[in-house]
């Protein structure tokens, strides 16, 4: 039995006749950070949304051993969408209160810590609609983390963030891995994941074109960036 907290098995997603994801299978173990790389339109966001339960699909997705639509699975999932999802008429701290209550989580001060780390602590009384896009993204991240899920999926999390927030978020990624959580990050910016990934899946046309592990042997032969450009500007590679 593997210790995969997130398991995706033969997932296919179609929009009409367009195949956005074709028979995708992979898993993310506890204490592992996986990244999905690929050009625009490769199908990264689609598989992320399938995992979050926001899209219909064929195949199976398991979170902590439960189907992703089941309530125990939802309880263990944190999702950071590509476009920040905040409520216009709630303040920053009310967002965190709402999530804590909805997930029936204790107020152990973790929300305050997140607000401080992402420099939102002085914006507690600001409404969602008064925040800039970057701040909304930070708030989205706080909302996904505050109930301490064991599986986290990030869709282009660094877009729109300021340098401090990017640095802090990268630190958070490492902490999540050290705490034994499974983290999946979708991005098209290779340089943003260079220093903290464990396994990278390069996607093209809705499929996995290559999978690379961050081990000395694997990276010595070819860098992730070289592999990415070889695939996206060349052909598929097993």
């Amino acid at each position: 039995m593997s210790d995969a907290l997130l398991r995706i098995e033969n997932v296919t997603k179609k929009y009409g006749k367009t195949v956005a994801n074709a028979d995708i299978s992979f898993s993310v173990n506890a204490g592992e950070t996986a990244v999905l790389l690929g050009p625009n339109g490769a199908g990264k966001s689609t598989i992320i949304k399938c995992i979050a339960g926001l899209l219909r699909f064929s195949g199976d997705i398991y979170i902590c051993g439960e189907r992703n639509k089941a309530l125990p699975a939802k309880r263990e999932l944190g999702y950071i969408p590509e476009l920040p999802a905040v409520y216009e008429l709630l303040t920053v701290e009310e967002h965190l209160e709402f999530i804590r209550r909805a997930y029936r989580a204790e107020d152990d001060g973790y929300g305050d810590e997140l607000l401080e780390r992402l420099e939102l602590d002085d914006k507690r009384k600001k409404l969602g609609r008064e925040l800039s896009k970057g701040m909304q993204q930070k708030l989205s991240i706080c909302c996904a983390l505050v109930h301490k899920p064991r599986v986290l999926i990030f869709d282009e999390p660094l877009v729109g963030l300021d340098p401090h927030a990017i640095k802090e978020l990268k630190t958070i990624f490492r902490e999540l891995r050290d705490e034994g959580r499974a983290v999946l990050i979708s991005t098209h910016m290779i340089e943003s994941v260079e220093d903290y990934w464990d396994v990278a899946h390069i996607m093209m046309n809705g499929r996995f074109a290559a999978t690379k592990r961050n081990t000395p042997e694997d990276t010595a032969s070819q860098s992730l960036e070289d592999l990415f450009f070889e695939i996206t500007e060349g052909g598929e590679r097993e």
Binding site: K49, L54, Y79, T91, A102
Partner: protein, 517 residues
Amino acid sequence: MSPLSYLLFTRFKNQIKGIFRSPAKLIYAVVLIALLVFVVIGGQAGAAESEVFRPSGELYAIVLGFYALMFILIVNSGFSTGMSVFKMPDVNFLFAGPFRPLRVLFFGMLQQLGTAIITGLFIIFQYGWMHGSYGVDVPGMIAILLGYSLVLFTGQLTAMTIYCLTSGSDKKRRAARGVFIAVCVVWAGYIFYACLGEGEFLPKLCAAASSSFTMYFPVAGWLCWAVTGVIEGELAGLIGLALWIVFCAALWLAMAKADQDYYEDVLQSTETAFNAQAAAKEGRVTETGPKKLKLGRTGLGAGEGAAAFWYKHRVENRRSRSFILGGVELIFVIITIAFGFFMRGEGVVPALAFAVYMQMFSSSMRRLPREMLKPYIYLVPEPAFKKLLWCIRESVGTFALMAVLIFVPLGLIMQLGPELIAACCLVHFTYSYLLLAGNLVCERVFGRVNTKALIFIFYFLVEILICAPGIIAAAALSAAGLPLYVCLLALAGANALLALLAIFLCRGILNYAELKN
């Protein structure tokens, strides 16, 4: 052909072509026309039995009240957000193009007139009772429809002119608003004063509403006067029409002379309208409410699990100043009471049927559609049915208050017993949820499909289907000789069960979303 005429003609031609290219639109058009014909023919047939009609003054009072309400509401927006008769492509192509501003304005007015006429088509659906009770014939109904369209059109033109002429100066805006309020107060005050004293209220109200003084009320009064002239065959109606023409010409001249460069003022309101339309097309729902809002008390305060949504909605509603009843709901309440008032001789059932019919146009899921565009409602680990119920809980107050506001006054007017008033309130309340459930069924079936025409037809079919069992049960009990309130209680019970069943069957809406953005 001039470029502007070409644009107007080509747009119209392409809209007609578009109907034939899209099966859903074609079906919608055919069904709509069939319904209109059915309503007119059905209305004609129904009226053959009764030859004695109610006093026509009542009808003119209704028409004047309705026109005035629409005109006041539209013109009022001229003091805040403004109103535009243009669309965004007009701004991009015509404002920047080699056209005289006056010609562009005339083009915008013509375009808006077409939209206003289409908006007024719903009046045809009122033909049955207008013909049956007041003997209104087809030309009369067309006159009422045209009058309504012209009220909308002139209201928008007035709002645009006010906005353009006062946008640069708070002093001017306050002065214009003062004049506007004063005219409305004098008009309403006169009607109120005329209704005081001894004698029956209704005849006095009708006499006041159709007096020459009230007919001089800008636009609404003039057009009502013209409509009255058409129905009664009186030439005096031409005075109203002439006043309206002079008013429109004056607005046009005011725009032309006082502010040749009206583009800047119109631009903002056009952009606002465009952004709202774009957001609606993309499935984004932006919060309405005041620009500068008061934060007030912070925190949800209570609610665990799915209940957190309801407590969140309370905070959001307080901040957006969404009161239990909004302006639209209040208008529907007033219209329904007016209908019941005039039809009081027929008993409470026609008023109840009319109230439910009006609900079809005012039924709203409030914050639920907004909630469904954000991921949290899908992510929160609670049963979907429970989440749906907590999300629609905020409607309880609105639905209950609407029912009470309609049927308590009507009950007093019709001298109904408390048990019958309570039964009517309950039926209205349960229909609110039944219609809401119908909306959910459409969402469940069509998801993010944007073919409004198809959804509209399906919505009506679903409503007919889920309303039928309760009506059949009530009719059966009535045939068995049971008192009316018992039949209505049975109807309410059936409605409640069916609404719950439909919502339960639609719970998958939160499990199988297609949230692309």
